[in-house]
């Protein structure tokens, strides 16, 4: 008895390689995007405050400038190490100079008070470091500041 020709045909197989390629590219894209977003946020322990609220986005609002103050008082803006401590001047770029550039680049020389600053400070950092950042903000006309806090804090 003769065998059917259909049985001789090779079994169709799904080629997974293009799907894997696409999925890998998507994953790499999202990982890089996540990494860039996290560049603004340094890993530090925020102070607890149960009255802290998630900021409500306003229409046309420029994203705030995020300033991180680490436990040892070091200032970091977008991953860049800065200092506001006169004792460390020369070891790292001066924070006040950097803030002036930020204000100028954002085109807010005419009205720096529109620039909003979110200050992320380690809970164990000395308040003197925050005072120096506040002073630099005042110096450049930046008055809208927000202190980041962990709202899960207990009273």
């Amino acid at each position: 008895m003769r065998r059917s020709r259909v049985e001789d045909l090779p079994e169709p197989r799904r080629d997974l390689t293009p799907m894997i390629d696409v999925v890998f590219l998507l994953i790499v894209f999202f990982m890089v995007a996540t990494e860039l977003t996290n560049l603004e946020l340094e890993e530090l322990a925020l102070p607890r405050a149960d009255q802290a609220r998630e900021p409500a986005p306003e229409l046309g609002q420029v994203p705030p400038l995020v300033i991180n103050v680490l436990e040892d008082g070091e200032v970091r803006v977008r991953g860049r190490r800065l200092t506001s401590d006169p004792a460390r001047r020369g070891q790292a770029p001066w924070f006040s100079d950097h803030l002036r550039t930020e204000v100028a680049v954002a085109g807010r020389e005419d009205d720096a008070s529109r620039l909003e600053v979110t200050l992320r400070v380690d809970k164990d950092a000395e308040f003197g470091a925050v005072q120096r950042v506040f002073e630099a903000c005042c110096e450049h006309g930046v008055i809208k500041t927000r202190l980041a806090a962990d709202p899960s804090g207990e009273r």
Binding site: L16, I20, I27, F30, M31, T34, E35, N38, L41, L46, P47, R48, A49, D50, Q51, A52, R53, E54, P55, V69, A112, S113, T118, L119, R120, V121, D122, K123, D124, A125, E126, F127, G128, A129, V130, Q131, R132, F134, E135, C137, C138, E139, H140, G141, V142, I143, K144, T145, R146, L147, A148, A149, D150, P151, G153, E154, R155
Partner: protein, 174 residues
């Protein structure tokens, strides 16, 4: 001449099964991505005094202002500087937490904070001054005080409904 086909069955091709590898890689990726997840953060608004540019300093406050003081004292209760000191919480002349009480895990739940919030609420209700934004409160913290304590003072002011909170200049004596 027609060739005779071999009756031996063809050996199956060697296929690499990719599914387990994909599973493992996906699991690893999900693990590392979740590890980077950022915990949602809240903010407390802290407006600085608008004084233009130049040598801007913090706002000068009247004697009438309510002042939350976070001082830095040694074990004998005297004002000190540098490491080795302890935070002291005062509202005006009232001591709400003594040196050493605002340290360790109990610092956040110290009754002084609740007392501070209660007193601020009372003062806010009694305020009849000229400020349109209500009772002005100044947080006067020494530079050595941990930021956590300053944020807790601000937290209590916000809880008490105070809208006009400023930070005292670091070098201003009180």
């Amino acid at each position: 001449m027609r060739r005779r086909r071999s009756r031996r069955p063809e050996a199956p091709g060697v296929d690499m099964e990719l599914t387990p590898m994909i599973d493992v890689v996906f699991n690893l990726l999900v693990f590392f991505m979740l590890q980077r997840l950022v915990v949602p953060e809240g903010v407390i608004h802290a407006y600085l005094p608008k004084q233009g540019t130049g040598n801007a300093r913090f706002e000068t406050c009247d004697v009438q202002d309510v002042r939350i003081k976070l001082l830095w004292h040694d074990a004998q209760g005297k004002a000190t500087e540098g490491p080795g000191g302890h935070a002291v919480l005062k509202l005006g002349g009232d001591v709400l937490a003594r040196a050493g009480e605002l340290e360790g895990p109990g610092a956040l739940s110290h009754p002084g904070w609740a007392e501070l919030g209660r007193k601020l609420e009372e003062l806010r209700a009694l305020y009849r001054g000229p400020s349109r934004s209500g009772l002005p409160v100044v947080i006067d913290a020494r530079k050595e005080v941990p930021t956590q304590l300053v944020v807790l003072a601000l937290n209590e002011a916000v809880r008490a409904g105070i809208r006009d909170v400023t930070f005292a200049a670091p070098s201003r004596p009180f």
